[in-house]
Symmetry: C2
Subunit: 135 residues, 2 copies
Amino acid sequence: MASVATVNVTEAPSYDPFERGCPSRDLLDRIGDKWSILVLGALGQHGRSRFTDLRKRLAGVSEKMLTQTLRALERDGLVLRTVYPEVPVRVEYELTPLGVTLRGPVKALTEWSLEHTTEVLAAREEYDDRANRGG
Amino acid sequence: MASVATVNVTEAPSYDPFERGCPSRDLLDRIGDKWSILVLGALGQHGRSRFTDLRKRLAGVSEKMLTQTLRALERDGLVLRTVYPEVPVRVEYELTPLGVTLRGPVKALTEWSLEHTTEVLAAREEYDDRANRGG
DNA sequence: GCAGGTAGCTCACTTTTGGGAAGTAGCTGC
DNA sequence: GCAGCTACTTCCCAAAAGTGAGCTACCTGC
């Protein structure tokens, strides 16, 4: 096996998130993750940041989750991790050029949820009301 | 009903997804959900669809997950569910006007993942390689 | 009177996820 | 020579999510 004779990577192979097992679906799932979106958002807004700063900014995230999320984003080439071997070690995270291309979509999603939270909350109340009175 | 005396919905209260327990964070999480994004995408592309059509289109989704996702989206006012009490009952789902406003953000995210899957896959390989050779 | 077709719901079970606490490493200042 | 700092990593356990099969309801056609 292996013997990949003619590799042509100029055009992306046709991925389809609606197909099971498609890597684009995995990717979509990964970046749609709760903490990933917030990390991406925070790094998009504030630029390079240290671990503890991110931790403070994403109120409620556990160390474990933050590390895990950052690792995954680094592995996916979206976040660059730089270690400064100083006295107490310093680590900084920032978006890679690829990560920067995600800023737009993530911002759009975040802003949408900000703008429409009220409406959604109202819709939920109405739905629950209707359910309760047996509508 | 409900005697809503002075409702002023012009300005949204200040929500912040970076705060724990903020409804906008919940909402972000909800719409960032794997199946939610795909359902929203499918309904955005094809318009009103029946349950079984959606099931076929979202390859690999289980009935339970699809029902659950559709219910959540309906509750949030993003999807409209219409039941036609015909011979074998027919149910159709479509985006509400609020759901339509989400089309843009969801499309942006989906297209981003389509366009950048190759790069991310490459980044992953590189990362894993480096890890394996103890980089 | 029973299979067939739609759109679910329910239940038992497995897998995954996430929290919290404790441990690690390397140097520093007292 | 030991606490203290940062940035993790590891472990255990509880909770949540997801799977698959079987059940419901209603009418139809044979």
